[in-house]
Structures are given as structure tokens and as C-alpha cells.
């Protein structure tokens, strides 16, 4: 039919986009960005029972320069918002944001003067995880869904977002 039929065994055809996205998705390094209650559950996800190392992402990077994924774990106050944006800007492209918990997603039950009502007012968000706080399993599920999303993104989409 095409080129595939004439290939010797052991050769795989793909395109650059897919292979790059494959590697990006499977070594996603989160930044340590714990804010509130959700941060404790995020740490529990890295702990022995839930063990995030299974997905190649137990290395929480303290420096945003080395991280691809920002897990906004907790409520974002008006005082924290500029800091959050600066940390996001410091992360090198490509980068993804996961909004963990209902406070980061929409302000949640704290609909008041102090909080940013949804972190998507400050940074673009790729994945929302509901819950107050989400269980570690929910966070892992959100991360796996993000992996799927990354694998199917085109470079153009990633560029447009950045």
C-alpha cells in the first residue's frame, strides 16, 4: 500500500510531533507550588501509597525554570496572584498548568474579597481537577488525562498557548 509495507522489521514510522509529545508527556516535571490544603494532598500523591513516581513525575522541581507543569494546589489570594504569574512566566516553554481543587478552579466556597475567583484569570489552565481537596487518586487521574492531552497536541497549539 505505501511505505509501511516495504519497511524491514524493527522500524517504526511516526512524526516528530508525536515522538516529541510522547517524551514530553512521560517526563513531566511539576513545580513545587503548594498553596493550601491541596498541597498536602499533592505531597501525599508523592508519598508511598499513591507514589507518583510510577508516572515519571516524582521529581518536584523547586525552581520553576526546571519545571514543565505547575500544579496550582490551593486557593490563590490577591496577594499571591502576581507571584503566581511571575512563577508561571519563569517556567520555560512548553508548560502546562493544572488547577487542583475547587478553590484554584473557581474560588470555590470562598467567594469573597480575598481570593482570585479562579486561577484562570491569571494563567491559562489546561486541566481542572475538582474536589475539596481532591483525593490523590483524583490528582493522578487529572495528570494522566493531561498526559493524554499533551500527546495529542500539535506544536501549533502549544505555540499559540505560550
Amino acid at each position: 500500500m505505501g511505505l509501511e509495507e516495504k519497511l524491514p522489521s524493527g522500524i517504526l514510522l511516526t512524526n516528530v510531533e508525536r515522538i516529541v509529545n510522547y517524551t514530553r508527556a512521560n517526563s513531566l516535571w511539576p513545580a513545587t507550588f503548594g498553596l493550601a490544603c491541596c498541597a498536602i494532598e499533592m505531597m501525599a500523591s508523592g508519598g508511598p501509597r499513591h507514589d507518583m513516581a510510577r508516572f515519571g513525575m516524582e521529581v518536584f522541581r523547586a525552581s520553576p525554570r526546571q519545571a514543565d507543569l505547575m500544579i496550582v494546589a490551593g486557593r490563590v489570594s490577591n496577594k499571591m496572584a502576581p507571584v503566581l504569574r511571575r512563577i508561571y512566566d519563569q517556567m520555560s516553554d512548553p508548560k502546562w498548568v493544572l488547577s487542583m481543587g475547587v478553590c484554584a478552579t473557581s474560588g470555590g466556597m470562598f467567594n469573597n474579597y480575598a481570593l482570585v475567583q479562579g486561577v484562570d484569570h491569571v494563567v491559562p489552565v489546561d486541566m481542572y481537577v475538582p474536589g475539596c481537596p481532591p483525593r490523590p487518586e483524583m490528582l493522578l487521574d487529572g495528570i494522566l488525562k493531561l498526559h493524554e492531552k499533551i500527546k495529542h497536541e500539535t506544536f501549533a497549539e502549544q505555540g499559540a498557548r505560550a
Binding site: C37, A44, L115
Partner: protein, 446 residues
């Protein structure tokens, strides 16, 4: 020639060898006050370093401004507020029962303590006594929560000092405690399980066996921490004589909890002003006199052991009976239980309000939608949280909502001592100082 000690002070410059032209070239001669201060600033090696609010070793979003003289900290200024959530203001627009849901998210490592203190304050205003079973269950959950909180302190503290094993240990045991909480309240954290008047619902049938098994497990696992840390030379080197604070300074700065007890004051509100029936349990208030970070570590270990001791007594004491006050104006109307379909339900109660009594139906809707009213007044109810005195100053004006809820957060007050404790120490010790204070930023900023 005999050496006269006073001679050096009176010696004239002429006694020193005359400066050569080469020496003069090396020096820079300037005049003017401004320029001198610039030179002084450079030569004294004073720098100011910002640490946080996003820093892996600051226990959350705490920002520290360090004035350094070389490696030595000359001043530490904590800057807080990066997690200010406005919970106090939010409770003013919600009913008293809903308030529990808000305050439990304040100190997220010890949610039961916030609920308990808020409910105790509400009950004090209402003038009601909770049933004995509810009181004992509260004590069991509070003490388990204290253990879980200290475990997270150990885990994060260990991680910040570079000991990842301790972190894995701490979170390993905490998961078991959270399993118990989840079975009772439905949530791993932020339970809103303790309610004004008692508990949201009764504990599960296997509560006693599970708790007893958990205490046994924790007792056994405590040995791991001791074997790993108590004689560990690295742990000693990092913690001993670091972050020293004495009892007077603690009281002057309002520091309470394990930090105060590590400085030698046996002050524990569970002993001093017993609440929730703590006077019935036999336990020790551990103290040490060193007042350094290592003493605080030992105090917290011992407190975990004492908590287990209290839990064992409480499990033997646990009586039967209701877990909510027998006052239809206050108690949450239905005591739901999990049905076969996986949904909480109370068929008898529904039959009662839907088929038998219109008044009960009206009461149900009034209570659920509007809540109960609380007599006007001001109370201050403190409890001994894992971090110190957690006080709720609640003001009511006789409506179904609190007029003002102020929280005396132990982390907030204790953080003032970080400056005193860090001065004269190295930069690396700042991490130890903050870790040994155990501030939870949700508690600090509220």
C-alpha cells in the same frame, strides 16, 4: 624593652614604618559622608536576601526577608498574607453550622481542632452540653489528628533537611490515620464532622476495632522514627543548639504549644482548662529545658505517644447513646445512615416529616435553610492544637449567623519568634528554625 600594655594606645603614627608610594597606590582616598557609607556597606558584607513566598523549605507560602552578615542571620522578617482567604469574614454571612465547614479549612493539618474549638464556642454561647459519646469520639479524633499533624511536621521537616526517608515514613502512617477519618466523616481532610451540639453522624460499627488496630500500628511504627532519628548524628548536628528560645521570651512573644513546652513551661490547655472531658484522661505534659529544635522534636515525639495513651483510655471509655444533643431546635434533624444503594438516608425520619407531622416538616426546613439562633454575647474558647493555643473569639448578636469570628491562630503568633530564634544562626539554620516552629500557612493567614 618591657612590654607596656598601654603603650599601643598612645603610640604615635610615626612609630609605624612610613608608607611607600606602592602602598598609597593600593588605597583609595576619598572624602565625603555619602561615599564612605557606600564603602562601608560593601566592605561589611551585609546583604538582604529574600526567601519565598514560593520556596520548597518554607512550609507553604511564607516569605522571609533575611538580613545577613556573611553567613550569619542578623534579622529575619516574616512576611505573611499570601494565603489570606477571608474565612473570618465568610463565616459572618453563613449559619453557625455552615461555619464549621469554613473553619475546618483554616489549619488544614489539624482540621478537627478548628471544628472542635468553633463548636465549643458555639455550644458555650448556646449553653448546651454535648452527649458523652460525642465528647469521647471528639477526643479520639482530636488525638488522632494531633498524631497526623505531628507526622506531617516530621515528614516535611525531614524533607526540608534533606531526609527523604523521614518524609516517606511520615506520609505512610498518615495515610492510615486519614483512612480512619475518611471512614467516619467521608473526607480525608476538611471533615466538618464535629458540629455544634455533637457530631454530624455516629461513628461506624467497626470504629473501636479500627482505632485500636491503628493505635497498635502507630505504636509499633513510632519505633522506626526513634531508631532513625533520635541517635542520628546528622539529625543532632542540624537540630541541636539551633533555634534556641527560652521560656521568658516565649511568653513575651506569645509562643505556646510544643515550643513553649520545649523551653520548660508545662503549659497545656488540656490540663490547665480541660474541655471535652480531658480531665478524665491520664496523660503527661512532656517538657524539656533545652529550648532548641532538638528538644521540640523530642517533645513532639512524646506528645504522639501521650496521644496514643489518651486514645487507648478513650476507646475503653466510649459509651453508647446519641451523638447529638436532644434538642430539636439545634440538632441536625435526621441521623442518616448509609443505605444499601450507597446513599445516605433515614426512612423513618422521612416517614415522620412527610406523613405524620407538619410541624416537624416546618422545623426541618427552618433548621436546614435558616439554622438556629444563638444568644448574644462574646466568648473566647481556646483549645490545645498541635501548634499551641488555638482560640476562637466569637461574637454573637442573637441571629442565626455569627457576628464576628476571630481566630487566635497559634502559627500566626508563633511566627513572631522566628526572628529571635534565627538571629546569630547560619542561613541553613533558618530552615530548621521555621520547620521546628511548624507554622501552617492556612492557619497564619486564615
Amino acid at each position: 624593652m618591657a612590654i607596656d600594655p598601654t603603650a599601643a594606645h598612645t603610640a604615635t603614627p610615626a612609630a609605624t614604618p612610613p608608607a611607600t608610594a606602592a602602598d598609597l597606590d593600593d588605597d583609595i582616598y576619598v572624602e565625603g559622608a555619602d561615599w564612605e557609607s557606600v564603602v562601608d556597606a560593601v566592605s561589611d558584607d551585609h546583604i538582604t536576601v529574600n526567601m519565598g513566598p514560593q520556596h520548597p523549605s518554607t512550609h507553604g507560602v511564607l516569605r522571609l526577608v533575611l538580613d545577613l552578615d556573611g553567613e550569619t542571620v542578623t534579622r529575619l522578617t516574616p512576611i505573611v498574607g499570601y494565603l489570606h482567604t477571608g474565612i473570618e469574614k465568610n463565616t459572618e454571612v453563613r449559619t453557625w453550622v455552615q461555619g464549621t465547614t469554613f473553619v475546618t479549612r483554616m489549619d488544614y493539618l489539624s482540621p478537627f481542632f478548628n471544628e472542635a474549638a468553633f463548636c465549643l464556642a458555639t455550644e458555650k454561647l448556646l449553653g448546651i452540653e454535648v452527649p458523652e459519646r460525642a465528647e469521647v469520639v471528639r477526643v479520639i479524633l482530636l488525638e488522632f489528628n494531633r498524631i497526623a499533624s505531628h507526622l506531617v511536621w516530621l515528614a516535611t521537616g525531614g524533607m526540608e533537611l534533606g531526609s527523604t526517608t523521614v518524609m516517606e515514613f511520615g506520609f505512610r502512617e498518615r495515610e492510615h490515620v486519614l483512612d480512619l477519618f475518611e471512614a467516619q466523616s467521608g473526607l480525608r481532610m476538611n471533615h466538618a464532622y464535629i458540629r455544634p451540639g455533637g457530631l454530624a453522624q455516629d461513628v461506624t460499627d467497626d470504629f473501636l476495632e479500627r482505632s485500636a488496630a491503628l493505635v497498635d500500628l502507630l505504636t509499633e511504627r513510632m519505633r522506626d522514627y526513634e531508631d532513625l532519628l533520635v541517635e542520628n548524628p546528622i539529625w543532632h548536628a542540624r537540630l541541636k543548639n539551633v533555634g534556641h528560645i527560652d521560656a521568658d521570651t516565649c511568653l513575651r512573644l506569645g509562643v505556646t504549644g510544643p515550643v513553649l513546652r520545649a523551653a520548660g513551661v508545662p503549659w497545656d490547655l488540656r490540663k490547665a482548662q480541660p474541655y471535652s472531658g480531658y480531665e478524665r484522661y491520664e496523660f503527661e505534659v512532656p517538657t524539656r529545658t533545652e529550648g532548641d529544635s532538638f528538644a521540640r522534636f523530642l517533645i513532639r515525639l512524646e506528645e504522639m505517644r501521650q496521644s496514643m495513651h489518651i486514645i487507648r483510655q478513650a476507646l475503653e471509655l466510649l459509651p453508647g447513646g446519641p451523638v447529638m444533643v436532644d434538642d430539636k431546635r439545634i440538632a441536625w434533624p435526621s441521623q442518616q445512615s448509609l443505605g444499601a444503594d450507597g446513599i445516605g438516608n433515614d426512612p423513618d425520619y422521612i416517614r415522620h416529616i412527610m406523613g405524620e407531622s407538619m410541624e416537624a416538616l416546618i422545623n426541618h426546613f427552618k433548621l436546614v435553610t435558616q439554622g438556629f439562633t444563638v444568644p448574644p454575647g462574646q466568648v473566647y474558647v481556646p483549645v490545645e492544637s498541635p501548634r499551641g493555643e488555638l482560640g476562637y473569639a466569637v461574637t454573637s448578636i442573637g441571629t442565626n449567623k455569627p457576628y464576628r469570628v476571630h481566630v487566635r491562630a497559634p502559627s500566626f503568633v508563633n511566627l513572631q519568634a522566628a526572628d529571635v530564634m534565627a538571629r546569630g544562626q547560619g542561613v541553613a539554620d533558618v530552615v530548621v528554625v521555621v520547620a521546628s516552629l511548624d507554622p501552617v500557612m492556612g492557619d497564619v493567614d486564615r
